[in-house]
């Protein structure tokens, strides 16, 4: 049989079809084009904070987990990038509640400026400022995602330090309004300044901050009740940690339960005529003994600058210095 042009044409056509099939369906998987590799779409997220090694904890000098398995947040224990990604996935809104009455009004501007800069920067935050002088609230330039709501309240003598009205107001306001506007809520003292980022590592169901004075060994003994000093964690002296009332929070439902319970406790003592800042704190501690926080913040998150400790690597929130003429 002679090889004619038609033979050649047939072979070319066959080769062409074979080539087309090869191109569209490569025989080995490694020749597949790179496809988007993650079903969740977020695979570019790396643990940037040094690769977690199970036999090498980052903080060996402090307790990072409570006996009921609640994490204690210290600098070096968390990666804010990972936590931010998780927070963003859930589309959450956090609120801050703070009270500024009588002479505490002077702290509003400093508080708002620093909180706007450092508190959950980049996420939506609603600030609820309860004050008896709304006209004195100067306009502070806020980030576009943050909002400020100024709510007028009445004041009485020695009101600021009395917790009864604060808890009552908080409790009823959550029920009336806040539960519809925020998912998480934090209560902060107005006479503080934020000096470093306080981010989404604080977001959990019930969050409390360990008091600064718990960090030095002699203060640790005070908590055990062996030395005189600041009050023991609870009236009976059987506390886990001593928590500060200057910064606490959690999910809006948990903060509601907390404020309602503390208000109830206050009402009992009102008959006896007690009402002071220290009392506010001891009520909070009593509640948190029975309803243990799901996350604890180290004293970095409310650091009394008169103390010093090598364990505090970052001071995030500090009370504003007041001179002796204040009281």
């Amino acid at each position: 049989m002679r090889i004619t042009k038609l033979h050649g044409l047939a072979i070319l056509v066959t080769a062409g079809i074979a080539g087309a099939i090869w191109y569209h369906h490569p025989f080995s998987p490694s020749r597949d084009q790179e496809r988007a590799n993650s079903p969740g779409g977020d695979s570019g997220l790396k643990s940037d904070l040094h690769e977690a090694s199970l036999t090498l904890p980052w903080r060996q000098d402090v307790l990072v987990l409570t006996p009921w398995l609640a994490p204690i947040v210290w600098e070096g224990t968390f990666s804010r990038d990972i936590l931010n990604a998780q927070y963003l996935q859930k589309n959450l809104v956090t609120g801050v509640v703070t009270f500024a009455v009588e002479k505490y009004v002077q702290f509003i501007e400093g508080f708002m400026t620093s909180a706007n800069k450092y508190f959950l920067a980049g996420h939506q935050v609603n600030f609820y400022l309860f004050t008896d002088s709304p006209e004195k609230v100067s306009h502070v330039q806020m980030s576009p995602e943050n909002r400020v709501f100024v709510i007028p309240v009445q004041s009485g003598s020695g009101w600021q330090d009395a917790c009864r009205s604060r808890m009552h107001i908080l409790s009823s306001y959550i029920q009336r309004r806040l539960q519809h506007e925020v998912d998480y809520l934090f209560s902060m003292d107005i006479d503080v300044q934020l000096l470093a980022h306080v981010g989404v590592e604080i977001i959990d169901a019930l969050v409390a901050t360990i008091s600064s004075w718990q960090l030095s060994p002699q203060h640790d003994d005070r908590a055990q009740g062996t030395q005189p000093g600041p009050p023991a964690a609870s009236p009976e002296g059987h506390g886990d940690f001593h928590y500060t009332a200057s910064f606490y929070g959690g999910s809006v439902s948990e903060v509601y339960k907390l404020s309602t319970a503390c208000f109830g406790g206050v009402m009992e003592d009102r008959e006896i005529g007690i009402g002071a800042r220290g009392h506010h704190e001891s009520l909070l501690n009593k509640y948190l003994l029975q309803h243990k926080p799901t996350r604890l913040l180290s004293p970095e998150y409310y650091w009394d600058t008169e103390l010093s400790s090598s364990l505090i690597h970052v001071k995030r929130m500090c009370p504003v210095h007041k001179d002796s003429s204040w009281h």
């Binding site: 004619t4 047939a10 199970l54 307790l63 409570t66 994490p71 060994p217």
Partner: protein
């Protein structure tokens, strides 16, 4: 003019090329699936009814030693992940405190275990050791998925604990059986266990409990760290490294290597998780590829993007063939010695 010989030769060439193409296409993976294997629509549209999750438990007054901020419990191991999930090691928790909070909640905890083919021989020891060590004092429902319900021993269980066998087909290969567990668990949760339990653990049956396993393991989504990979860097994790698989994890990514033998959590979270793993397994099947470690690879892929809320240390998923390092103070759950070739046949 086209001769008959020419026509026949061309057709023959075309036929050979077509055959080669089909063979190459189909032969690129070890297991081939017929094109009409579609996802089961009825699983994916099932709405799960579940009870409200309780977040904060009331801790009754209890006398115990005060925790000290300056005294870390375990200095030799990591006890909190970078996303602030606790890692449960012996010494990090107080079982009394946790028991005092969880017991009053009247929880029922479910356990799934798959005993297919020769694996039914492991059920007795699994159940006997679970009765002794697993969630003592709590209500427990055991769900044994098996192809031969008759071979499941009827054991005397403690009060408040029950055993149910779930019929399950036996598939052709052990890998297939392993991967089908995700589908079976999600289907079972939607139909049965979602209504009966609040927390569910999915465990391998060829293992035995040696020490207490209690409420410290309860959480929203719980994974366990594989005993073979907790001291090595992520480059050495046996993740699926082929980009064509839905379980692909590229180099430079990954937190830990989790074991497929233990996972659990709130029942609705376990449902979502197993459903999602089942979907990625199906995606791989459609592409004719099987992940390096079957559903364990898919589990690891899923836990990279949806990080677990609590991790269990290798104490909870140990391999007895390994020597015990000092970091492991207590072995709670570990493999039974067996001849893998013989039992998987």
């Amino acid at each position: 003019m086209i001769s008959r010989k020419l026509l026949l030769t061309s057709l023959f060439c075309l036929g050979v090329v077509a055959a080669l193409a089909i063979w190459a296409r189909a032969g690129s993976g070890k297991v081939h699936y017929l094109p009409y294997y579609l996802p089961c629509p009825e699983i994916f549209s099932m709405k799960l009814q579940y009870t409200e999750e309780k977040l904060i438990q009331l801790f009754p007054q209890l006398f115990y030693q005060q925790p000290r901020v300056l005294v870390p419990k375990r200095q030799d191991v990591l006890t909190v992940t970078p996303w602030l999930a606790p890692i449960v090691w012996e010494g990090t928790f107080d079982p009394e405190i946790l028991d005092s909070a969880y017991r009053p909640l009247n929880l029922t905890i479910g356990v799934t275990a798959f005993a297919i083919g020769k694996y039914t021989r492991f059920v007795r020891r699994f159940l006997e050791s679970a009765e002794q060590h697993f969630m003592r004092g709590y209500q427990v429902n055991y769900y044994i998925f098996t192809d031969s319900p008759a071979s499941v021993p009827s054991l005397q269980l403690q009060p408040g604990r029950s055993l149910a066998t779930v019929p399950m087909a036996k598939f052709s290969s052990w890998q297939e059986i392993s991967m089908r567990r995700m589908e079976a668990i999600s289907r079972h949760v939607a139909q049965v266990s979602g209504r009966e339990v609040q927390y569910l653990f999915c465990l391998d049956v060829d293992m035995v409990f040696h020490n207490p396993w209690g409420p410290e393991t309860l959480g929203d989504m719980v994974a366990a760290i594989h005993p073979g990979y907790f001291t090595v860097p992520r480059e050495q994790f046996p993740y699926e490294r082929r980009s064509s698989s839905a379980a692909f994890i590229p180099e430079g990514e990954g937190d830990f290597y989790y074991g497929g033998a233990v996972f659990g959590g709130l029942v609705n979270k376990v449902y979502e998780f197993t459903k999602s793993c089942h979907m990625t397994i199906l995606a791989d099947k459609a592409n004719g590829i099987m992940a390096a470690w079957q559903e364990e690879s898919h589990l690891n892929r899923h836990f990279l993007t949806h990080k677990p809320s609590k991790l269990l240390s290798p104490e909870y998923i140990w391999d007895d063939r390994k020597p015990k390092p000092p970091e492991i103070r207590l072995i709670r759950f570990s493999t039974v010695d067996k001849d893998y070739k013989e039992v998987r046949n």
